[in-house]
Structure formats: C-alpha cells, structure tokens
C-alpha cells in the first residue's frame, strides 16, 4: 500500500504534464530539424518539396568532411583524458581516503564548480592562456622559455585544457557512484583467496565499475560534441567544431545548412550512444 495505487488512472495523469512537456520541447523540435534539413528552395516555408540536395551540398565540401573528422578526434582525446583522470580521482576519493571528513571536503571541492556557470569557467581560462597570460608569465619567470609561447589562446590545445577542467567531473561522477555500491566484502574475499591487489582491481573492481565508466564517457562525449560556447570563447573564430558550424549557418540565416549540420551532429551522437549501450545495459544501473 502506498500513496499511489499501482496502475491507477491517477498515476497516469500525474505523468502527463512532464511527458507532454518533454515531447513538445525536446522530441518534436528534433524531429522537425530532420524535416527542415530536407527542404528544397530558399524560402522558409513548410510547403517546400523535399530533396537531399542540402546533404549533397554538405558532402561536396571537403572542409566540412574534415571538420567531422577533427570533431571526432577532439572528442575522443577529451574522452581519453577525462576518463583516465576521472577514474583515478574517483578511485582515490572512494577507496583511498579513509577519513570521512576529508573525503567530504575533497569531494565538495571536486563537484562544487558543477553548480557554477560553465560559460564563466570557460572565460576564466582566457587570462591564463593569452600571450601575456598566467601560463606564459610563469614559464618565463621559471626560465623555461625566453619569449611567450603563442600556442595556448586561440588554439586546439587551449580548448582541450579548458574542457578537461570543465568535464572531468562528468566522467568521475558515475564511477564514484559505482565504486560506492561495491560491498567491501568482495575485496576482502578476493584478498583472503590470495589474489594480488592488481588482480583484484582488474578482475573484480574494474568490471563492476564499467557501467559507470561508460555512462561518464557518454556524458563527456555528448557535452564535448555540442560545446560550441567554450570553443568560441577560447578558440576565437580561428577554431571550429561541428557545433560551431551550426551556429555559423544559423547566424547567417542559412536554416537549411544549419539543420543539415545539426542532423549530422545528431547522427554522430546516436552512433556513439548506441555503441555505448552495446557495452553496458543502462537499465541495470537503476537496480
């Protein structure tokens, strides 16, 4: 017995507002993008006949094809870096820190920036990366270089540095959750049976946290693929990823072009998520 009867009409009606909201604001607009990307002609009218011309135009330009490639490479780099870093941090926080108070303090220091603006945190990297930025000043002070290195601001390296600081939390969070749900008896049993510590990690701990790793990787993947704001802030207009191309077309009122790129972005993401779901069953997380 509970305050809601199982399979009652009331439970159905309670779900309706949220479902309608999500359908109307998320599902329908995204489907709409696919439709608009197939419009022919130039006018903004739903009566436009459908063609694949916009896609043909997109694939005829080698710059755009290369852009898909560099977006995927950039995203893969970030997934690798944040994945390893995030796992190490999560493992340290959950397994190695003994004192509950220190664990709480370190954990808070780790997750609190998530509640502040990503945009502001990206902007905070600008004074660090410039020619006269903090990194160059430090390097010159220490004597590593004589003249400032221009490789940070407006560069792929600078974008990567900022995004690592923005998204490692996303990679580590689900791993922390999975590590916390491993009963300590499992490790003790394995140790009693004389397994080497690394074997315990490789055969028991890591496989049990794998769903967390994959969820974290999916979150980083989706966020980096669609993060046009950080790229625009730190990369200036010298660097672009696929999501910046959407903005570029949109700002010059090329709705069809923007939709085509948006659909390509969506396809890349779908492929990524489907691959991830083949590795782990996301539904097992709730159990």
């Amino acid at each position: 017995m509970s305050t809601i009867r199982v399979r009652s009409p009331a439970s159905y009606w309670l779900a309706v507002p949220a479902a309608v909201w999500m359908l109307g604001v998320v599902v329908v607009p995204i489907v709409l993008l696919v439709w608009v990307s197939l419009w022919s002609g130039r006018a903004f009218s739903p009566a436009s006949p459908l063609t694949f011309d916009n896609y043909a135009k997109f694939f005829a330009n080698p710059t755009y094809i290369k852009l898909i490639g560099s977006t995927v490479v950039h995203t893969a780099t970030l997934m690798a870096v944040t994945g390893v870093l995030g796992y190490c941090i999560a493992y340290f926080l959950v397994v190695k820190v003994r004192s509950p108070r220190w664990r709480l303090v370190l954990f808070l220091a780790f997750i609190v920036p998530f509640w502040t603006s990503t945009l502001i945190r990206a902007i905070a990297w600008v004074p660090f990366l410039g020619v006269n930025g903090v990194i160059n000043q430090t390097l010159m002070f220490v004597g590593v270089t004589q003249s400032p290195i221009e490789a940070f601001l407006y560069s792929r390296a600078g974008i990567t540095m900022a995004q690592v600081s923005l998204y490692t939390m996303l990679a580590a969070g689900p791993v922390v959750y999975m590590l916390n749900s491993i009963p300590p008896q499992l490790r003790e049993a394995a140790m009693t049976l004389k397994a080497a510590p690394f074997t315990v990690f490789r055969r028991i701990i890591f496989p049990l946290t794998l769903p967390g790793v994959v969820i974290g990787q999916v979150l980083v993947f989706l966020n980096v693929m669609s993060d046009f704001a950080t790229v625009a802030t730190i990369g200036g207009n010298k660097h672009a990823l696929l999501s910046n191309l959407v903005m570029l077309f949109y700002e010059s009122s090329q709705i069809r072009g923007a939709s085509v790129v948006a659909v390509m972005l969506m396809l890349c993401m779908l492929v990524g998520v489907v691959v991830a779901l083949r590795v782990v069953d996301i539904r097992r997380l709730g159990a």
Partner: protein, 278 residues
C-alpha cells in the same frame, strides 16, 4: 630488483593518486580564483597580470553601466526565470516520480523520455524549438519560449533526484498512515512530503542553477531581451574587459551561496530528524 610488499605498493598508489587528485583540484580552481583576483584590478588594469593596483573600479563600472553593457536587467531576467524554472521543476518532478511509483502502462518509455532531456544537447533542442516557434508564428521571448526550453533541461535532473529519494524512502511509514485511516492525499501531504523534502530542495536547486547558467538553449530562443549568460557572451564578443571578470565573480559567488544555503538546509533538516529519533 626486490619486489615491494603489498602494503608499501598500496601506499605508493594512494600517494600517486592523491597527488593527481590535488593537482587536478588546483587545475580546476586556479582559473576561478584568478578570475576573482583580476576582477579587483585597478582602473588601468588589463585582462591579465599585472593588475596595476587594486580597486572596486570594475564593480563600480558594472553598477554605473550604460545601456550597451548594462548587466542589471539581464540579471533580473535570469533570476526570475531561474525561480520560475525551479518552482515548475519541483512540482512536475514530484508528480512524475510519484507517477513512476504507480507503474502505469508505458512507465519504462516515460523514464527514457525524461532521460532524453539530459542526453539531447542544448544546441539541438534550442535550434529545433526556435524553428518550431517560427513555423507556429510564435514570438521568441525570455519569459515564454526560453522558460519552456529551460524546464525541459532542469526537469529530468529534478526527476532523477526524486526517483533516488523515493528508492530509499521507508514505505512502512506511508503504510502506517494509510492503515490508520488517513486518505491518500492527507498521507501524502503529512507523511510522504516531509520525508521527501530533502529531495524537493535538491530538485529546486537543480532547477534554479541549471536554468540560471544555461547558455545554448537561451541562445536560440530568447529574442531581443537577453538573459545574463547571453549578455556576458555578447559583451565578450564586443570587448574583453575586467568588467566581465567582475560579472563572472559576482555570479559565481551567487551560485556558491545558493549551494551553501541548500547544503545548510539539508544539514539542519537531518539534525532535526536525528534529534527527533533519539
């Protein structure tokens, strides 16, 4: 070479991982601190060191702002929008989580539909929604279209928070109230709701801070009256001055203040419950 024993190796691992964690924390916090320090640069200070003295000049600039770079109206809009999103998120996510407990037909699909709100990137949702509004002939505005898209982003987070709370919640208390003759509505209001209150606060916090900081969804759906992140980005496109650092520091403090207040509320409530039990 002699192999080290397990305990020493475990300690070395702990030190290496600990050093890595601390290094990352420094890496994560240093830019934020630098932003804060630079916002107090002198009137002739640039966007990086040296600061040319310390002053409140850039905060005063912020206050005296002209029409072009006035952040006060966007701040008001963002705050009102975030409050509205927070309230809507709380109501809808409690309803949705309560509905999930009722296991209605298709509740599996309902769960995935809400999860999609987290997975779907803001740039696609914002762009698609803007096109839909254009097709329907609806004028874009921060208090209508932006509100709709923001809730589609905050609601799933509130929903997952409420699900987590309901998973850990002691059903026997509810059953006791119902057995003693309380109606379902009274039992929900007097027993269930106080028990899930920490989750409700969490959902409200998610609703507020995610909406307050949201950029891509606002980008496409806001129309002429900008929200705060849009105003910051527009100013960044025009000119980078320490004034942007001042705005950034102020909003970061505001966000941290909100998180601290909620954490404190959690803690106070937990103490109250523990006090009652002992």
């Amino acid at each position: 070479m002699r192999a080290l024993d397990y305990r020493t190796r475990s300690r070395i691992t702990a030190w290496v991982l600990g050093a890595l964690t601390l290094a990352f924390l420094a890496y994560q916090w240093l830019p934020i601190f630098t932003l804060g320090v630079l916002s107090f640069a002198g009137p002739t200070g640039g966007t990086t060191f040296p600061m040319n003295g310390t002053s409140f000049h850039w905060y005063q600039e912020l206050w005296r702002a002209t029409v072009m770079n006035d952040f006060k109206p966007p701040l008001l809009r963002s705050t009102l929008l975030a409050l509205a999103c927070s309230a809507t998120t709380v109501v809808l996510s409690v309803m949705a989580a309560q509905a999930m407990r009722g296991q209605f037909r298709g509740h599996g699909w309902f769960f995935y539909l809400l999860l999609l709100g987290i997975m779907a990137p803001g740039i696609l949702v914002g762009f698609g929604f803007a096109i839909m509004m254009r097709l329907l002939g609806v004028e874009l505005s921060w208090d209508t279209t932006t509100f709709l898209t923001h809730v589609s982003w905050t609601l799933p987070f509130g929903f997952l928070t409420m699900l987590a709370i309901f998973n850990r919640f002691d059903k026997k208390l509810e059953e006791a109230a119902l057995t003693l003759g309380a109606s379902r509505i009274v039992a929900f209001r007097r027993v269930t709701f106080p028990l899930i209150l920490p989750g409700v606060i969490g959902a409200g916090l998610f609703g507020f801070s995610l909406s307050y900081d949201e950029f891509p969804r606002s980008m496409f759906t806001t129309g002429p009256d900008m929200t705060l992140p849009l105003a910051v980005m527009a100013q960044l496109d025009r000119q980078l001055t320490p004034e942007i650092y001042a705005v950034g520091t102020a909003t970061t403090f505001f966000s941290l203040f909100a998180v601290t207040m909620c954490t404190f509320a959690f803690w106070a409530m937990r103490r109250q419950v523990q006090g009652r039990n002992s």
